[in-house]
């Protein structure tokens, strides 16, 4: 089975791109399943189901969504493997911009959109910097100049990535993506022993443990203070 992890800021077009790409994969006779990770809420599972794609969803709720992803990705892989699909795609929203749920040796795609502003590539950390393929969406609603400037900013934080433009509404470009993500020789049956590409932030403070009150005396553990001096 091929495993592909897709991440990107909320509403950047991940589901649209994945659905269009699945159409092309299916035309080549490949079967695809999707695992969707999100935080509080998602409707994406319905979208996948309606497209006839087997789907599982996981909501992290009160937990850090990226930590939740890593804690469950092996189980999800087993699910995909046992269902016998050729390709399993995971979709997760990068919620804090610092994390990257990418795994060494597993194809990683980051989806960002042209509307998010030209400084966005600078603000997104490893999720963008360590992706193998960067998909830029919503090019249909900005100018050629903005597309070029945006793509060149992406290129300067991740020159090694393949950068593709895809229109999530029409699917223009998704056929091309589908040719890049499937590799006959890849056969993932487990992720055990594999490593994250980037360490996640270490954080354990009183608020992680359910504290709600504000003020110094309630703060314990890993605490850092903002510098307000001039």
């Amino acid at each position: 089975m091929n495993l592909i992890t897709v991440s990107g800021p909320p509403s950047s077009g991940k589901t649209s791109v994945i659905l269009k790409t699945i159409e092309s994969l299916k035309k080549r006779g490949l079967s695809v399943a999707v695992a969707k990770f999100d935080c509080l809420y998602t409707d994406d599972d319905v979208l996948y189901k309606n497209a006839g794609v087997p789907v599982k969803k996981g909501l992290s709720g009160a937990l850090c969504p990226d930590h939740y992803f890593v804690s469950n990705v092996e189980e999800v892989t087993q699910w995909g493997y046992k269902s016998g699909v050729d390709v399993l795609i995971s979709e997760s929203a990068g919620l804090c911009n610092r994390c990257s749920p990418y795994i060494k040796g597993i194809k990683a795609i980051c989806v960002i959109d042209n509307l998010s502003g030209i400084n966005t590539p600078k603000k997104i950390g490893p999720m963008l910097k360590s992706a193998d393929i960067v998909v830029i969406t919503k090019g249909d609603i900005v100018s050629q100049a903005e597309r070029e400037v945006f793509a060149s900013r992406v290129n300067s934080v991740n020159p090694k990535a393949t950068i593709m433009h895809i229109n999530g509404l029409t699917g223009q470009g998704s056929f091309e993506l589908s040719t890049l993500i499937y590799d006959e020789k890849d056969n993932i049956d487990t992720l055990k022993g594999k490593e994250l590409r980037f360490p996640m932030p270490s954080a354990l403070c009183s608020y992680c443990l359910g504290e709600t009150r504000i003020g110094e005396s309630y703060q314990m553990g890993n605490i850092r203070k903002i510098n307000l001096e001039d």
Partner: protein, 341 residues
């Protein structure tokens, strides 16, 4: 200066910047604040940041070195400029949606030519433009192949961000940035590493004003440009700043700009222009038109002399409509036998 993964950690930041000034923006885009540390090597800079700070900033020196080496390589080749010049592209036939072979043997399009693409919605006009952008090699649903300069194309055309084969004028022409016209074009010029920036920017704004009905100034915020002004700016900017040799126009709505001048501007920059269109004026302005049916190219028609005469009639009509619109807008009455100007 030898730049590779071995040498890079020990190179001094100052020396790097001196040799490759474009690294200044690379450092800044990667949140590397080198100011005050110019005399240090990269390795020392990262050491002095300390582990905790590096983790905070999500900086991984090894990944950074790899990206830097790759970026320098790309930029050197981009600035090298002795890149292959695209003189022509050739479309080799594939099949339509039913799998039937297309009705032509070979279509070569040369620099300075305009080709229009006509056919009903859903017939495959955008797919043809997509095949060209992807430099299809019998690996798209149409099985077409695209040659560049009559030869199998270099794979770089598919993936390079700085050397894209194709620039697209989008259907929707909105700007989302909050900048003045001048700042906007400047930003684009910067990303293209243009040298005589001021001159180029002034030229683009002048050309855009020639195309647009109503004038705008360099200080106008781009978000307050009218539809026609935005299109004019975008066309002038793409014609002059995009390095891409091919311009694709997918059903752009053309109200408010001078179509003939727009196409002439693109051609004067030696581009190949392909446009999917339902607009008879644009369709007839082309040297040839490709007729698409059921996903396949069914005919390639050269614009005849008779059609060119029809085009002139259409253009007269178009001018008349434009002038009526102008008059109505300014509160005048229209007169039947009025001459147009």
């Amino acid at each position: 200066m030898l730049i590779n993964l071995k040498t890079i950690p020990n190179l001094i930041i100052e020396d790097l910047l001196l040799e490759y000034p474009f690294l200044d923006s690379f450092f800044s885009n990667n949140n590397i604040v080198y100011q005050g540390n110019e005399g240090k090597s990269l390795a020392d800079y990262f050491d002095d940041l300390g582990q905790e700070h590096r983790e905070d900033m999500a900086i991984d020196p090894d990944l950074f070195y790899q990206q830097l080496v790759e970026f320098v390589k790309q930029m050197i080749s981009f600035l090298g400029k002795d890149n292959e010049i695209v003189e022509s592209i050739t479309i080799l036939p594939g099949n339509d949606k039913s799998g039937i072979a297309e009705g032509f043997t070979k279509l070569e399009i040369k620099k300075g030519q305009i080709i229009s693409i006509v056919g009903p919605t859903g017939s495959g006009k955008s797919r043809l433009l997509g095949d060209i952008e992807w430099v299809a090699q019998a690996d798209t649903p149409t099985n077409r192949r695209i040659l560049i300069n009559n030869d199998k194309p270099d794979p770089k055309w598919r993936f390079s961000t700085s050397d894209k084969l194709v620039a697209q004028l989008s259907q929707n022409m909105n700007f989302v940035m909050d900048l003045s016209v001048y700042q906007f074009v400047e930003l684009h010029a910067e990303s293209r590493l243009v040298e005589n920036r001021e001159e180029v920017i002034a030229n683009i704004i002048k050309k855009a004003n020639d195309l647009a009905g109503e004038k705008f100034s360099p200080h106008t915020p781009i978000t307050s440009l009218s539809g026609g002004q935005s299109r004019a700016l975008m066309i002038a900017d793409t014609a002059i700043l995009s390095k891409s040799p091919i311009i694709l126009i997918d059903e752009i709505e053309n109200a408010g700009i001078d179509r003939k001048r727009a196409l002439n501007l693109l051609l004067s920059e030696n581009k190949i222009v392909l446009m999917a269109t339902h607009d008879p004026i644009l369709a007839l302005m082309a040297d040839k038109r490709i007729v698409i049916k059921n996903g396949g190219i069914s005919k390639v028609i050269e614009t005849t002399i008779e059609e060119r005469q029809i085009l002139s009639t259409l253009e007269e009509l178009d001018k008349k409509i434009l002038s009526y619109r102008r008059k109505l807008r300014s509160g005048e009455r229209l007169l039947e036998e009025e001459s147009i100007h």
